[in-house]
C-alpha cells in the first residue's frame, strides 16, 4: 500500500462555493452568539458580503477553464457564467428576503414549529420578528446551486442537488401568513422532491452500470461505444433526466410548482423562480451537452415533446388561473418550456441563448414577485386577481411597472422577454428544431392572454371596494424593483454586452 495520492485542488476555482459554505456555517453560529435584536442586520450583512465576495471570486476566475478535485468539479465558461448569474440573482433575492418594513416582522414566521392557530401562534403573528435562519439557509442553497452547475460527476451533482434542495424545502414552510398553505407547500415539495432525487440517484446507478464510471467524460466516451448495453444507457438517462426535469419544473413533472409558488413566502418564491431555474437548467445543459451528446438523436425528440407539452400546459392553465402567484407559477412553467427549446438546439447558440434567457427571466420574475409582495390588505398579500381591479388608478407607478413586466413575459419587443425568446428560438431553428419554434410561437400567443387579462384588470376596470392599498416599498424592495426593471429594459434595448458574454462562455470543458 503506497501513500494515498491526494488529487490536486484548485482552491481559486472552488473559492466561490467555499466562501458561501463557510459563510452559511458562520451564519448558524451567529444565531447562537449575536443577540436577537441585532441578528437580522448581522445575518443580512453577512449573507450579502459572502455573496458579493463569491461574485468577486467568480469575476477574478473568469478565464479559468479546468477540471479539478479529482474530476468532481468542472470550472469552465458555462459554470462561471451560471455561477455569476446565480450569485447576482441570489443577491437580489436576499434583498427581498431581508425586507422587513412592508410587514411587521417580515415575510417569515418567528417559529415555524408552533402549531397553527394556537395561542402561541397568535402571539407570534402579532409581529414577533421573523426567523433569521432564513439567511444561512438561503446561503446554503446558493452554495449548493453553485456546485450543481459545476458538478462534473453525477454523484457530486446529486450531493449538490440535495444541498440546495433541503434548505429550500424548509424555507417554503416559513411564511408568516397563511401558514397551513405554506406548510402544505413545503411538505408537498419535500415529498415530490425526494422522489425526484431518488429517481436521479437510481439513474446514476444505471449510468454507472453502463459506463463503469460517473464522471461526465467517462460517460461521454462510453456513449460512443456501441458494444455496451444500450438499455442501461437509456434507462439511466431517462431517470437522471426526470430528476432534473422535476427541479426545472417541466411537464409532466411540474405539478408541485403552482402549490409551492403559492404557499411559499413570496421572497422565497422569487428566489426559487429565479435561482433554482438557473441551477436546474445549468445542470441539464451540462449533462446533455457534455455526457450524452452522443445519443442526441435519441433524446432530442423525447425532450422536444416534453418541451412542447410544458409550453402548452403552462400557457393553457395560466389562462384559467385566478390567483396571481399561481398565474406566475404557470407562466414560469411555460418559460421552462421555452428554455428547453433553447437547450434542445444542442449547439453553441443554444447554450448561449439559454444562459441569456435565464438571466433575463430571473430579473423580470424577481421584479414581478417584488410587486406582488407590495399589494396587501389586513390578511397579508392580496393575490386574488379580482383584488387587483383598477389598481392602475390608485397607484399608477406600481401598475405601470407590473404592466411592463407582464409585457416582458409576453415577449413584446424592446424588453428582455423578446430578446431572450429570439435568442432561444433562433438557436433552435439553427439546430434544425423548427417544429419546436412553431409550437413555441403558438403557445406564446395563448400565454399572452392571461397577461393581458391582468393588464386590463389593472388599468381598464374600475377600482372596487375591496381593491387593497399598495404598501410603500421599503428601500430593499425598491432596489429590487428598480434593478429588475432596469435590467429588463437594458437587456431588451442593448442586449449586446450580455450576448457577447454568453458567447464567450459557451464552451464546456470535458
Amino acid at each position: 500500500m503506497g501513500e494515498v495520492q491526494l488529487p490536486p485542488i484548485d482552491y481559486g476555482a472552488l473559492s466561490p462555493m467555499l466562501i458561501l459554505f463557510a459563510a452559511a456555517c458562520l451564519g448558524i453560529l451567529t444565531e447562537v452568539v449575536v443577540p436577537r435584536r441585532l441578528r437580522n442586520g448581522v445575518q443580512l450583512g453577512l449573507a450579502m458580503i459572502a455573496v458579493v465576495a463569491a461574485l468577486v471570486m467568480v469575476v477574478i476566475e473568469r478565464n479559468t477553464r479546468t477540471i479539478t478535485i479529482g474530476g468532481a468539479v468542472a470550472v469552465d465558461g458555462p459554470t462561471l457564467f451560471l455561477q455569476g448569474a446565480i450569485l447576482v440573482l441570489g443577491a437580489v433575492s436576499l434583498m427581498l428576503i431581508g425586507e422587513r418594513s412592508i410587514e411587521k416582522g417580515g415575510a417569515f414566521v418567528a417559529q415555524a414549529a408552533v402549531t397553527v392557530g394556537s395561542q402561541q401562534d397568535q402571539q407570534q403573528a402579532a409581529g414577533r420578528p421573523g426567523a433569521t435562519e432564513v439567511y444561512p439557509l438561503s446561503v446554503f442553497a446558493l452554495g449548493g446551486m453553485l456546485l450543481f452547475v459545476a458538478a462534473n460527476d453525477l454523484l457530486t451533482m446529486f450531493v449538490a442537488l440535495e444541498v440546495f434542495s433541503l434548505p429550500l424545502y424548509l424555507l417554503c414552510a416559513l411564511a408568516r401568513r397563511r401558514r397551513l398553505l405554506s406548510q402544505e407547500a413545503a411538505l408537498k415539495y419535500f415529498l415530490l422532491g425526494s422522489y425526484a432525487s431518488a429517481f436521479f440517484l437510481f439513474g446514476v446507478a444505471f449510468v454507472y452500470g453502463f459506463a463503469g464510471g460517473i464522471q461526465l467524460d467517462v460517460v461521454h466516451e462510453a456513449v460512443a461505444d456501441p458494444q455496451r448495453p444500450q438499455i442501461l444507457l437509456y434507462a439511466g438517462l431517462a431517470l437522471v433526466a426526470i430528476g432534473l426535469l422535476f427541479k426545472a419544473a417541466l411537464a409532466p413533472f411540474h405539478v408541485w410548482t403552482p402549490d409551492v409558488y403559492q404557499g411559499a413566502p413570496t421572497p422565497i418564491t422569487a428566489f426559487m423562480a429565479a435561482c433554482t431555474k438557473v441551477a436546474a437548467f445549468g445542470a441539464l445543459l451540462r449533462i446533455l451537452y457534455v455526457a450524452f451528446d452522443g445519443v442526441r438523436w435519441d433524446f432530442q425528440p423525447v425532450l422536444g415533446v416534453i418541451a412542447v407539452l410544458t409550453m402548452f400546459v403552462g400557457a393553457v392553465l395560466a389562462v384559467t388561473q385566478t390567483d396571481l402567484k399561481r398565474l406566475l407559477a404557470y407562466s414560469s412553467i411555460a418559460n421552462a418550456g421555452y428554455l428547453m427549446v433553447g437547450v434542445l438546439a444542442l449547439n453553441e447558440e443554444g447554450l448561449s441563448g439559454t444562459m441569456f434567457y435565464l438571466v433575463a427571466y430571473g430579473f423580470s420574475v424577481l421584479a414581478a414577485f417584488a410587486i406582488i409582495s407590495l399589494v396587501r390588505d389586513a390578511d397579508g398579500e392580496a393575490t386574488h386577481l379580482s383584488r387587483w381591479a383598477g389598481i392602475g388608478r390608485k397607484s399608477p407607478l406600481l401598475a405601470g411597472v407590473f404592466t411592463f413586466i407582464l409585457l416582458t413575459f409576453a415577449g413584446i419587443p424592446m424588453t428582455s422577454g423578446f430578446t431572450s425568446k429570439f435568442a432561444v428560438f433562433g438557436a433552435a431553428v439553427e439546430g434544425g428544431q423548427t417544429w419546436l419554434v412553431i409550437f413555441g410561437v403558438i403557445s406564446s400567443m395563448l400565454l399572452a392572454f392571461p397577461y393581458l387579462r391582468v393588464v386590463v384588470l389593472m388599468w381598464l376596470s374600475e377600482p372596487g371596494e375591496s381593491t387593497p392599498a399598495v404598501s410603500i416599498p421599503g428601500f430593499l424592495t425598491s432596489a429590487v424593483l428598480g434593478l429588475g426593471v432596469l435590467v429588463t429594459v437594458a437587456l431588451g434595448v442593448v442586449p449586446s454586452p450580455l450576448i457577447d458574454l454568453t458567447r464567450e462562455a459557451s464552451q464546456f470543458v470535458r
Binding site: 410561437v441 399572452a448 393581458l452 442586449p495 450576448i499
Partner: protein, 511 residues
C-alpha cells in the same frame, strides 16, 4: 439637405414629444394639447422638407442611415425610405396634427387624464413612423409589435362601448399575426446567415427551396393580412373601430392598417417572389370576397363607427387586388389608394366622430334629418361619403380606377366582380347619409342641445386640409404617383412579372 438624417430624427421626434407631454400635470390639459399639436406640426414640417429632398429619379431607397445595434445577431438601426414609404410617412405627418386637433375635447368629459391621451397619440406616431422608416427587418418587427401598446391603451382607456373587449381582441389578433411573422423572420435570419439587412435577406431568400419560401411567405402574409385586415382576418377591426375614440379610429384605419399592405409590398413580394406568384390567386380571391362581403355588412350596420370600419375593410380589398394583380398601374393604384383611403376614411371617421360627440350616440337610428340642424357638418359628411365611394373628382376615384384598370388587363374576372363593390359602396354611403342627415327630422335630435351647434372654427380647421387634399389629389395626383411609380416598378421587378401593355395604358391612366 439630403445628408440630414431625416428618418431617424423623424422617428425619435414624436417619442421625445410623447415623453414631454406625459410629464405635464393633469390640471394643465390645455398646455398638453398645445404641446402635442405643436409637436406634430414640427413633424409635419420636417416631413415636407424630406418630401422635397426626395429625388424621384434617384435610388429606390433613399435617406439611408445605419447604426449598429446588436452586432452578434446582425441587427442594426437601419432606416431607409422608398417612394411607398415616403408617401405613407407624409400621410402620417398630415393625419396626426389633424387628429390631435379633432380630439381636442375628447377627453374633457372623461375621468381619464388628457395629457396621457395626447402622449399616447404621440407615442403612436413614433411607432408608426418607425415601422415605415425601418429598413432592417428586426427593427421593422420591433415597431410592428410595439405599435400595439399605445393603441391598446387608447382603445381600452379612452374608448366607448365594449372598449375592454375591443382592446384585448385588437391586441391578441395583432400579436398572433406578429408571432407568425416572428417565426418567419427567425427562419429567414438563419437561412441568410444571421443578418437582417434587407438586400442580403433578399439574396438569401432567392436561394430557398420553393416549399420553405412558401411557408415563410405565409408567416409574413398572415401577419399583414390580419393587420390590413383582409377577409377572413378582419373581425377585430369593426370592434376596435367601433370602440376607439373617433380620432384614434381614423388613425387606426387610416395609417396603422396600411402597415399590412405596406408589409406585403415591401416584404412578401420582394423577398418571396415565387411564393407571391403562387399565392396570388388565393390572395385575389380573399380580396374580392372582402370587397363584396364587407360592403354588404356595411349596408346592414346600425352603428356609424362600425359602418365606417366595414367600408374600410372593403377598401382594403381593392388595395389587395391592386397589389396582387402585379401590374404597374394596379400597384401604383393600390399605393395611391393607401394614401387616399387614409385621407377619405380618416375624414369620414373624424366627421362621424363630430356627429357622435354631439348626439352622444353612434347609432344610425338615433339620427335622421340632422342636416337641418347642422347643415355644414352634414355637408362635410356628404363630401367625405362621396370621397369614400370614389366619386370622380375626389382622390379615391383615381386610385380605384387605376386598380381596376390595372387588374382588368391581367385578371378580368376579378376586376369585373370587384367593380360590383363600387355599386355597393354607393349603396352603403348614400343610405347611411340618407338615414342620418336627410329625410324628416328626428324629434329626439332637437332635444339634444349640442345638436344645434354646427361646425366650430376648430372643427373647420380640422376638416379643411383633408377636403382640400382630397380635391387636389382628385384632379392632379401626379406629384404622388411620380413618387410611387418607381418604387412599385422596382417591387414588381423583384416579383418578376411584366406589364401586359406597359407604356400606353400608363400614359392614359396615370396622368
Amino acid at each position: 439637405m439630403s445628408d440630414f438624417p431625416f428618418l431617424s430624427v423623424l422617428t425619435l421626434l414624436p417619442l421625445v414629444g410623447a415623453l414631454a407631454v406625459a410629464f405635464i400635470p393633469r390640471a394643465r390639459a390645455e398646455l398638453a394639447k398645445l404641446v402635442a399639436l405643436g409637436w406634430s406640426l414640427v413633424v409635419l414640417v420636417l416631413s415636407v422638407f424630406m418630401w422635397v429632398a426626395f429625388s424621384i429619379d434617384g435610388d429606390r431607397f433613399q435617406f439611408h442611415e445605419s447604426y449598429p445595434w446588436i452586432p452578434a445577431w446582425g441587427v442594426s438601426f437601419t432606416f431607409a425610405a422608398d417612394g411607398i414609404a415616403l408617401v405613407m410617412l407624409m400621410l402620417i405627418a398630415i393625419l396626426f396634427p389633424v387628429v390631435i386637433l379633432a380630439s381636442w375635447h375628447d377627453v374633457d368629459q372623461s375621468t381619464r387624464s388628457a395629457p396621457a391621451y395626447f402622449a399616447l397619440l404621440l407615442s403612436f406616431e413614433f411607432t408608426m413612423i418607425g415601422v415605415f422608416a425601418a429598413a432592417d427587418v428586426f427593427l421593422f418587427y420591433v415597431f410592428f409589435e410595439i405599435m400595439l401598446i399605445p393603441m391598446y391603451f387608447i382603445i381600452g382607456s379612452f374608448g366607448s362601448g365594449q372598449k375592454q373587449y375591443a382592446a384585448v381582441k385588437f391586441f391578441l389578433y395583432s400579436l398572433v399575426g406578429g408571432l407568425f411573422m416572428l417565426a418567419s423572420v427567425i427562419g429567414l435570419w438563419v437561412v441568410a446567415g444571421h443578418t437582417f439587412d434587407f438586400a442580403e435577406l433578399a439574396g438569401a431568400a432567392a436561394t430557398l427551396d420553393t416549399e420553405t419560401a412558401r411557408w415563410l411567405f405565409l408567416g409574413f402574409f398572415v401577419a399583414f393580412a390580419i393587420k390590413a385586415p383582409f377577409f377572413p382576418f378582419h373581425t377585430w377591426l369593426p370592434d376596435s373601430g367601433g370602440a376607439a375614440p373617433a380620432g384614434a379610429a381614423a388613425l387606426l384605419v387610416g395609417v396603422m392598417d396600411k402597415v399590412g399592405t405596406f408589409g406585403i409590398l415591401r416584404y412578401c413580394l420582394s423577398l418571396f417572389p415565387e411564393a407571391s406568384r403562387w399565392f396570388a390567386p388565393a390572395a385575389l380571391v380573399l380580396a374580392v370576397i372582402g370587397i363584396i362581403y364587407a360592403a354588404l355588412l356595411a349596408i346592414g350596420q346600425n352603428d356609424l363607427k362600425r359602418l365606417v370600419s366595414y367600408t374600410s375593410i372593403a377598401h382594403f380589398g381593392f388595395i389587395g387586388i391592386g397589389i396582387f394583380a402585379f401590374t404597374t398601374q394596379a400597384g401604383t393604384g393600390a399605393v395611391l389608394y393607401m394614401v387616399n383611403h387614409g385621407l377619405a376614411t380618416g375624414l369620414l371617421f373624424i366627421v362621424v366622430g363630430m356627429l357622435v360627440a354631439r348626439r352622444g350616440s353612434s347609432l344610425v337610428s338615433d339620427f335622421g334629418g340632422a342636416g337641418r340642424l347642422v347643415p355644414v357638418l352634414a355637408g362635410v359628411l356628404f363630401f367625405a361619403g362621396l370621397a369614400s365611394l370614389a366619386l370622380p373628382g375626389t382622390a379615391p376615384f383615381v386610385s380605384e380606377f387605376l386598380v381596376l384598370i390595372g387588374t382588368f388587363s391581367t385578371h378580368k374576372g376579378y376586376a369585373v366582380v370587384a367593380t360590383l363593390g363600387i355599386v355597393l359602396a354607393a349603396a352603403y354611403v348614400l343610405w347611411m347619409i340618407q338615414r342620418t342627415t336627410q329625410g324628416t327630422l328626428n324629434p329626439a335630435l332637437t332635444e339634444v342641445p349640442a345638436m344645434s351647434k354646427d361646425l366650430t372654427l376648430r372643427e373647420k380647421a380640422v376638416v379643411a386640409p383633408l377636403i382640400a387634399l382630397l380635391l387636389v389629389l382628385g384632379f392632379y395626383p401626379k406629384p404622388v404617383t411620380d413618387v410611387i411609380n418607381p418604387a412599385v416598378q422596382a417591387t414588381l421587378q423583384d416579383v418578376g412579372t411584366t406589364d401586359p401593355v406597359p407604356t400606353v395604358a400608363d400614359g392614359k391612366a396615370g396622368r
